[in-house]
């Protein structure tokens, strides 16, 4: 993997990103049906825009997830519709610190510290349970996220398939580009596998 070419122009097709910016310091990542994800992102942006128009400040992650949870739950009992095939992470930054939420298809909200969702997430979750502690630093966080993804994909993780987004205090939600991700992976010597 270390010898992978940075220019991935020879790829036949590229998938739609799973991470979206909702507002300046508010991001959303979803796992599941991507077409459903587009609808949810559109809705989230609309809620955030309405809030900032009325109150003149950015909506918090907690309020946004509450609104989205009502939206999700409506689809579980309405006729002629189906629930969203989606699990969504929402990350934001409030005065008290970073907020991370998980929203399930039934409209259930969890305030989480770390989690992995998707295919073979149990393998990744075992790794995450071992690595995570409450005093985990930024670099260790990146390390844990890469390796838990590697566990979930059974060691077949390619750097070109990774998307990474970071939020920090006083810094907007940022989706890193391929070069930045590559530099992080080189640091962890993940590529030697």
């Amino acid at each position: 993997m270390a010898k992978q070419n940075l220019n991935e122009d020879d790829k036949m097709s590229e998938q739609l990103s799973k991470i979206f910016i909702v507002d300046k310091s508010l991001g959303l990542a979803g796992c599941g049906l991507k077409t459903d994800l587009k609808i949810v992102v559109k809705r989230a942006r609309k809620i955030a825009k309405n809030f900032s128009y009325i109150f003149g400040k950015q909506i918090s992650a907690r309020m946004l997830i509450t609104e989205l949870a009502y939206f999700f739950q409506e689809f579980t009992y309405s006729s002629s519709v189906r629930p969203f095939g989606l699990c969504v992470f929402i990350i934001g930054f409030a005065n008290e610190g970073p907020d991370l939420f998980q929203l399930n298809p039934d409209g259930d909200v969890f305030y989480i510290k770390a989690n992995i969702i998707g295919k073979k997430s149990n393998h990744g979750l075992n790794f995450l349970n071992k690595r995570w502690n409450k005093d985990i630093a930024y670099e260790e966080t990146l390390f844990a996220s890469f390796f838990s993804l590697n566990e979930a994909t059974e060691g077949r993780l390619k750097y070109s398939d990774i998307e990474l987004a970071v939020i920090k205090k006083d810094v907007n939600f940022k989706i890193l580009n391929k070069k930045e991700i590559y530099n992080h992976i080189v640091n962890f010597e993940l590529l030697q596998t």
Binding site: K18, A29, G30, C31, G32, L33, T76, R82, P83, F84, G85, L86, C87, F89, I91, G97, P98, L100, Q102, N104, P105, D106, D108, F110, I112, K113, A114, N115, I116, I117, G118, K119, K120, S121, N122, G124, L125, L128, N129, W132, K134, D135, I136, A137, Y138, E140, T141, A144, S145, S148, L149, A152, T153, D161, K169
Partner: protein, 63 residues
């Protein structure tokens, strides 16, 4: 960090639509979200705010 996904059967012994939605999620590529330690930043923020207050007092006494 527990696994929240569990199957719930309805009165007919079938999976509900929401459970099928959960199953859809478990077939897709994984995503990780991790929150790192923040207390250090908070501490610095606290110091900053104290400095600001002391500076403000200083300026008010000067004027």
């Amino acid at each position: 960090m527990t696994n929240y996904i569990e199957a719930v059967f309805n009165s007919r012994g079938r999976l509900s639509q929401t459970d099928y939605a959960f199953k859809t999620v478990t077939l897709c590529n994984p995503i990780v979200a991790i929150k790192s330690k923040y207390s250090l930043d908070k501490f610095f923020f606290y110091i900053d705010s104290l400095n600001n207050i002391s500076n403000m007092n200083y300026h008010t006494t000067q004027s």
